[in-house]
């Protein structure tokens, strides 16, 4: 604590200003989304809809069939994240073993994957996904980040905090590796699993480059790509309507809604996850 009245006032002003910078664009979008099409095309400061209406949401839902990409994204996110957490936990468990011959080599391989981002290998990745006949499937999006080095290493730090005596005594009682993992390690690392899960839910929900590359079937389009078409006004929809700003805003608000819903949980585990990672450094 700096214990200075001047600095305290400065702190409130700085954070207040920053918060306004974060909140004002959001309020602007929400207000625009509930305006009429005509109202949203008028110049001016919109902090409140001109006439409160769900017009934009109806266009979005009925004519642009926004529910379809939303369902696709929910499917990919829920199935994909659960598999991701499971595999990351297994990987982290193996790396957390104190004496495993070859562990160092395994760790190096996993660390190396962190240095190779999908942005750099997207062209050959496209070729490989084609070879596996995964193009234009929602499965491709689950496969794209089935497990990650980042999540494995995060789980490893959680598993390493479990005292080794627990494992030794379970072994004496005749438990095998699988039972020890499932009955001792998994229940004791619930915060770690929740952190990895939420990180991956947000990542998969926001996934952009993979659906852009792997999917061009409109029926399998995901939320972010559908929203992109609306925001950038691509003429991919069969309707001839001009997409007015209120519809664009409604698309943004609907895409934000699930994140806001998850936010309390995210704040609890995400931020403490970052803390524990940072403190360990």
């Amino acid at each position: 604590m700096l214990k200075s009245r001047g600095f305290l006032i400065f702190s409130y002003s700085l954070l207040g200003l920053l918060s306004i910078m974060m909140i004002v664009p959001l309020i602007n979008v929400i207000a625009t989304s509930f305006s009429t099409g005509l109202g949203s095309m008028q110049p001016g400061v919109i902090f409140w809809p001109d006439k409160f209406t769900f017009e934009a949401y109806e266009v979005l839902w009925r004519r642009l069939e926004y529910w379809r990409p939303l369902m696709n994204t929910i499917f990919v996110t829920s199935v994909g994240s659960i598999i991701h957490v499971f595999l990351s936990a297994i990987g982290g468990y193996v790396l957390a073993q104190s004496s495993l011959p070859g562990k160092k080599l395994i760790a190096i391989i996993i660390l190396l994957t962190l240095t190779i981002p999908s942005q750099i290998i997207m062209v050959p990745l496209f070729v490989v996904f084609k070879q596996f006949h995964l193009l234009n499937t929602l499965t491709s999006l689950i496969v794209a980040e089935l497990v990650s080095g980042f999540s494995i290493l995060l789980m490893k730090t959680y598993f390493e905090r479990i005292p080794i005596e627990l494992k030794e005594s379970a072994k004496i009682d005749g438990a095998n590796t699988w039972m020890i993992f499932l009955k001792i390690y998994v229940p004791l690392t619930f915060p770690g699993l929740a952190t990895v899960l939420l990180f991956d839910v947000v990542r998969k929900y926001n996934m952009f480059i993979e659906p852009l590359i792997f999917i061009n079937d409109p029926l399998k389009m995901t939320l972010q790509v559908a929203l992109k078409s609306i925001v950038l006004n691509d003429q991919v929809t069969s309707t001839n309507d001009i997409i007015t700003p209120n519809v664009v805003s409604a698309g943004i608000v609907l895409a934000l809604a699930p994140l806001i819903l998850f936010y309390p949980a995210i704040q609890r585990y995400f931020i403490t996850g970052i803390y524990s990672g940072a403190v360990k450094e």
């Binding site: 305290l8 920053l18 395994i106 290998i121 997207m122 925001v231 931020i271």
Partner: protein
């Protein structure tokens, strides 16, 4: 031999656990990487590789003006994102720590962290709405007389890079502030008391207590931001149009255009290898400079 087989018998279950994961990485990370390097030396046709052509793809990469332009854009954008993205969250982190009222502390933290969770499509959508010719910013600027006619920020080459950098910094500010905050929280309060007895000012306390203490966190934020910003794709993809392409087409975006829209797989793969080389070079140099082990 017998030691080896005994080791294996003791641990075979663990090996069986990790094997599918390693196999996954081999198929979907290392194999594509190897194939990318291989393709960069091939003449690639639409139906597949058409033979080894040596450095021809690389010669094109190093002489083609659009590739050179996007390499420059990538480096300029990454440098700006890294400098601002690393320095700006320090003061807000100190400010959050100063505030003792838990409600306000939580509220500020929550609001500032929020944009980090938003996808780039949402970020661009929000800002386009805000900065459109009929949007909030233009309306205010015109009504107070600062502007005669509204500016279309998103189609102006003069604003393209600034906007891209500003939005990235805005998005990541809360996340980086939390990393700094975690380091600030762990400072021993006695240090401040000792400094007070010596008559240290607020500036001195920040300069000689807080900054040295959070130096490891600063190293991490610097490196994460640098490595991440060199891969800039989403924002570049969403903001690029005919007018701004020269300013904000990054290497990752160029790889996408060349490889997946024009199917020039050979040159795109060579550009991918170039980006990988730049990333590794910058990351290694930066970790040397900041002294990160």
């Amino acid at each position: 031999m017998s030691i080896f087989s005994k080791q294996f018998r003791d641990h075979w279950q663990l090996y069986a656990f990790i094997f599918p994961i390693l196999l996954y990485f081999v198929i979907f990370v290392f194999y594509p990487l190897a194939q990318g390097i291989w393709m960069s030396f091939q003449k690639m046709g639409l139906l597949g590789p058409m033979g080894f052509i040596g450095q021809e793809n690389y010669r094109i990469v190093f002489t083609d003006p659009t590739v050179i332009q996007s390499t420059i854009s990538t480096i300029v954008i990454a440098a700006n994102i890294t400098i601002f993205g690393f320095a700006l969250p320090i003061l807000p982190a100190i400010a959050i720590h100063e505030i003792t009222r838990i409600t306000w502390k939580r509220l500020f933290q929550t609001i500032i962290y929020m944009p980090y969770l938003f996808s780039w499509v949402i970020i661009i959508g929000i800002w386009m709405n805000l900065l459109s010719p009929i949007g909030l910013v233009n309306s205010i600027l015109v009504s107070i007389g600062l502007l005669d006619i509204p500016i279309s920020f998103f189609s102006s080459p003069n604003f393209a890079r600034t906007l891209l950098v500003a939005q990235t910094v805005w998005k990541d500010l809360g996340f980086n502030a939390v990393i700094y905050l975690a380091a600030i929280v762990s400072i021993n309060p006695e240090l401040y008391e000792a400094a007070e007895i010596d008559g240290a000012s607020v500036f001195h306390k920040i300069r000689y207590i807080i900054l040295p203490h959070i130096y490891p966190a600063m190293q991490i934020v610097f490196l994460i931001t640098l490595v991440g910003s060199l891969r800039t794709f989403d924002s570049s993809y969403l903001m690029t149009n005919g007018l701004t392409a020269d300013k904000i087409t990054t290497l990752a975006m160029l790889i996408y255009e060349r490889g997946l829209l024009e199917f020039d797989l050979g040159v795109a793969s060579a550009a991918g290898v170039l980006l990988l080389a730049i990333s590794i070079l910058f990351a290694l140099t930066a970790s040397k400079i900041v002294g990160y082990k």
